[in-house]
Subunit: 590 residues, 2 copies
């Protein structure tokens, strides 16, 4: 037996007991004839003391222990003379009688403390050491707890967890698939699922009524900081439900998770139409933790001879409360920020409503104080406030300003900490017209149903009708992050065929790729709807963090590499041969 207790277990009532602990040497220090060693495991830290008066050889051995060595110690628990109130075990220590070194450790390449001196690359390479640090360990323990809570809740609501296959078929719609060559079916490939979408719909056809799965999904995209080639979803589907049923069920789940795992009671889950979200926040995932809503200034800003505004479809602003004192340099920086290609605005207009009642704007030439007072009236600006204004094509301007709103709020710490503001964004458009490809793209995915009352229009309508169709599609947004999204599904073959046709599929392509699903719709498919939560993102948002990578045990870097195990890697020529494949690229490029 390696231990009688963990390093987080001993308390004052245990004093006098003989115990055995095993763990890592967190720190050691000599103090006169006493050597103190902090012994650490997942559960906590316990102080062990070696007294050279008792056993000089043992104390000597203890003095030579290095950081991160793994040791086993036996001895008697006793009350500490100098207690540590910050540590649950801080009232006791173990007076060591025996010490066994279970394993030594080289000096770690970075300090294993909450704040470490290791850079990103080094910590990724030695991920197993980085994972020893408190913050990452708390993240992974949180994730495990959250997954258990999800399952317990959904299981209690009659949801069945069904594992869907990972080796499926590649479909060109949507993001790029990872593919897996088949050895037994040479020249053919499986694909890894981007989501279990069609399988969960088939489970509804099969009568499972309520399905869920916490499931890995895969997407071969160029990676950004918050994207990973493999990610985890809480994937759900329900039969015989309306959108309202789905929203209520998953509002219930979300409330439960926050309450159970975070001890946070969430407030309202308002519902906001997609159009309204864009209009008020310039985003389909508005952050409701702070105000600064978008204000339409066209009526008061156009027709004054300022060509930029006059030529614009929209002039739109946000009132930044109490920030009239921003310096010229700060305002220039904001201008540069919106002009970056990622945002794409052509410039930024400001108006400062000074404490003394005067107004200073970057367009004083066109707008006198009275004209600017009209802006203030529309925007509700008061003395001390700053107004930031963009103009141009309506949707683009709103989105640019929505981004600026987030940027300014973050930069000036105007977002309250520890606050969670959920909402449902609903009534998304069904289709998005793409000028370049001259075809529609699915706003959510090709299985999403138009609103019930629009089915007839979809089957018979013209091009403009299609553009205006709204879907029973919905997103759950918390603090400006998209936590989940879903939709009511098509369950009728002819409507599904029509949708594929609008999305540019020939009937043959639709049949080849999704014939099994359309076939299933002919054998008694029930009305159904579903949703998927991004589990990695949910973990991060619940902890007020933005990087999902810190909630994944072994993430890939931005090149899709696991630098610890050094994957992907070359494979044997024999493996390639068995798969009937050859590499097209020159050997020196590999």
């Amino acid at each position: 037996m390696f231990r009688t207790h963990t390093c987080g277990q001993l308390r004052l009532p245990d004093a006098g007991q003989e115990v055995t602990l095993s763990g890592w040497v967190q720190a050691g220090r000599d103090f006169g004839g006493l050597t103190f060693v902090d012994l650490r495991d997942r559960y906590g830290i316990t102080q062990v003391v070696f007294d050279s008066d008792d056993d000089a050889a043992l104390a000597d051995q203890a003095g030579k222990l290095g950081r991160e060595w793994v040791v086993q110690v036996s001895g008697e628990v006793r009350e500490r003379t100098s207690k540590n109130p910050n540590r649950p075990t801080g009232e006791v220590e173990v007076l060591a009688r025996t010490l066994t070194v279970l394993n030594k450790s080289k000096v770690p390449p970075f300090t294993i403390e909450d704040e470490t001196d290791g850079g990103d690359d080094l910590r990724m390479k030695y991920r197993y050491l980085d994972l020893r640090r408190g913050p990452l360990q708390q993240n992974l323990l949180f994730r495990s707890k959250l997954a258990l809570a999800v399952r317990a809740y959904l299981g209690g609501q009659d949801f069945v967890e069904v594992e869907t296959p990972n080796l499926i078929k590649s479909t060109p719609e949507g993001a790029r698939d990872f593919v897996v060559p088949s050895r037994m079916n040479e020249g053919q490939f499986y694909a890894l699922p981007q989501s279990p979408q069609t399988f969960k719909q088939l489970l509804m056809v099969a009568g499972y009524d309520r399905y869920f799965q916490i499931v890995k999904c895969f997407r071969d995209e160029d990676l950004r900081a918050d994207r990973q080639p493999e990610f985890t979803q809480i994937d759900c589907e329900m039969a015989f439900v309306t959108q309202e049923d789905v929203l209520n069920t998953f509002e219930g789940l979300t409330r439960h998770l926050f309450s159970e795992v975070k001890q946070v009671e969430l407030g309202d889950f308002p519902r906001m139409q997609y159009d309204e979200a864009l209009r008020r926040y310039g985003s389909d995932k508005p952050d409701l933790r702070f105000g600064m809503e978008l204000v339409d200034l066209s009526a008061v800003a156009q027709g004054r001879g300022f060509k930029v505004f006059d030529a614009a479809e929209l002039v739109v602003g946000i009132r930044v409360p109490g920030k009239a004192d921003l310096s010229r340099k700060q305002l220039d920086a904001l201008t540069d920020w919106v002009k970056r290609p990622q945002i794409g605005a052509r410039g930024l207009v400001y108006a400062k409503f000074n404490a003394d009642g005067s107004i200073k704007s970057s367009v004083d030439k066109f707008f006198d104080q009275e004209a600017l007072q009209a802006w203030a009236a529309v925007a509700g600006a008061e003395a001390g406030d700053l107004l930031l204004v963009l103009s141009g094509e309506e949707e683009a301007s709103r989105k640019q300003l929505g981004s600026l709103r987030l940027h300014v709020a973050a930069e000036h710490e105007m977002i309250p900490a520890g606050v969670f503001k959920p909402l449902w964004v609903v009534d998304f458009p069904l289709l998005e017209w793409n000028e370049e490809s001259q075809r529609f793209h699915a706003m959510h995915h090709p299985f999403t149903s138009p609103k019930r009352e629009e089915v007839e229009r979809m089957l018979t309508g013209d091009h403009e009708t299609m553009k205006a169709l709204k879907a029973d599609a919905y997103d759950l947004v918390i603090n400006g992050a998209e936590i989940g999204g879903g939709s009511v599904r098509i369950y009728d073959r002819s409507l599904q065929e029509k949708n594929f046709q609008l999305l540019g599929f020939t009937p043959e392509e639709a049949e080849a790729q999704f014939g099994f699903l359309m076939g299933a719709f002919e054998y008694g498919a029930p009305p159904h709807a579903g949703i998927a939560f991004g589990f990695d993102r949910l973990c991060a948002v619940m902890n007020g963090q933005s990087s999902i990578r810190d909630f994944i045990a072994f993430p890939k870097n931005n090149q899709g590499r696991d630098v610890m195990i050094d994957a992907p890697a070359l494979i044997d020529a024999k493996q390639l041969e068995e798969l009937g494949l050859s590499l097209e690229i020159a050997a020196e490029k590999r």
Copy 2:
């Protein structure tokens, strides 16, 4: 709202209520002016009645409903005049006032009943219909419930569920990997994990102490009936434990699962050494539900001039109780059975101990009654018993007879139903010498530790020493099926290097493939051990079934194909090009 209740919910106290149900038409029948429709969903079946005296048009519409149509019915719950005691809802029916057809159904290609008329291939193609049948639905609901119980139990024992990556690195050791070409790292491949082995060991190095995961694993092997290219494991690892700790923990889990999900209280979990299991049962996964242990007859069967026996390393038999009355034809069939290449015996000797005290054997020429009495004495055979005897090389003969033992017991229904007999098989050999490749193979896997007391011998011993090394490796066997296996792991770099060397790795190969793990062992790796249960198999065994396929929602066939979605499939030339790959095989072969 599509329903107020499910089809399994209504009871007598609900009589008088107005309700709405939705579900599938299981069956309909006309009876005078009444039309009865059995409405089915996952939760049950409720009888709906349409009375043509009340509403002739509605009753007429109901009479035209087809099997598997999806309908919504509203009406009043009332007590049935003729109750059905076999159905939880059997005391009530719903008198329909409205009927809405939500979706029609073509006539299903096979009957959707517990016993179906559909062949395997047809049912695989229409898996979504097969999954509607009661037995499969019960299997998948069982699986979901079992997974929840596993998680609740392990979560309650401080195990952390950590998701390990699916895109990892290919290693030539063990079975064949599925590989995934990387687009961002052209010419390189990920592999899908055969198990999260190295990652769970790294989690122990990282201090997570107790890890588990219910996880998909992948193996590109030629498939047998009970193998699938993707399968699910309950994968676990623990730090600071001995083999004894692991066995006790997972005996606890197994007991809990049987008790919680099957209401079965398991008896003892005896521990049997690998050598003993082979000796007594001719198998490393003995089925303890019945006797018929192997008996060494060499002492009484050799030296009598029967050359086959005299030349053999071992003569070994099983006593089949009460089967002296097997016909010549039946015995010939058994002989043919053991001579099949899968078994590989050269012949079968029998002795019948007749009720009248006479003995009839297939080797009467060499063994008189007295000699055969000596066999009976050794084997404990009594009047009415049959003795089946094999001979040859010791290990091969034992395994052949072990197979025959199972075959005879199954054929003659000598295995009690509803009985569960678990045991731990322990003390497996560490290494297995392979004559052909002239190197050792790992009996469990390359990370398995020799027994603690044998470490020194392993580091310094000669070839014969290596052959005799025993590992701290263990299997959980229930009713002759291997449910799980695991081992105490190596956590020392030099011992791991030695093991790789014995397994035929050059130091460079070992470093290239497993350098990250051996590196981790240098930074304070704790002693650790683990186990993995085959989750699909566990589901099947707990239900007394042998095919794991019936517990997988969407399995592959023996060619690794999903015939429903028709995968694997060809992919676009563009996809291949992006991956830098080309197909080696001729177009016409595809």
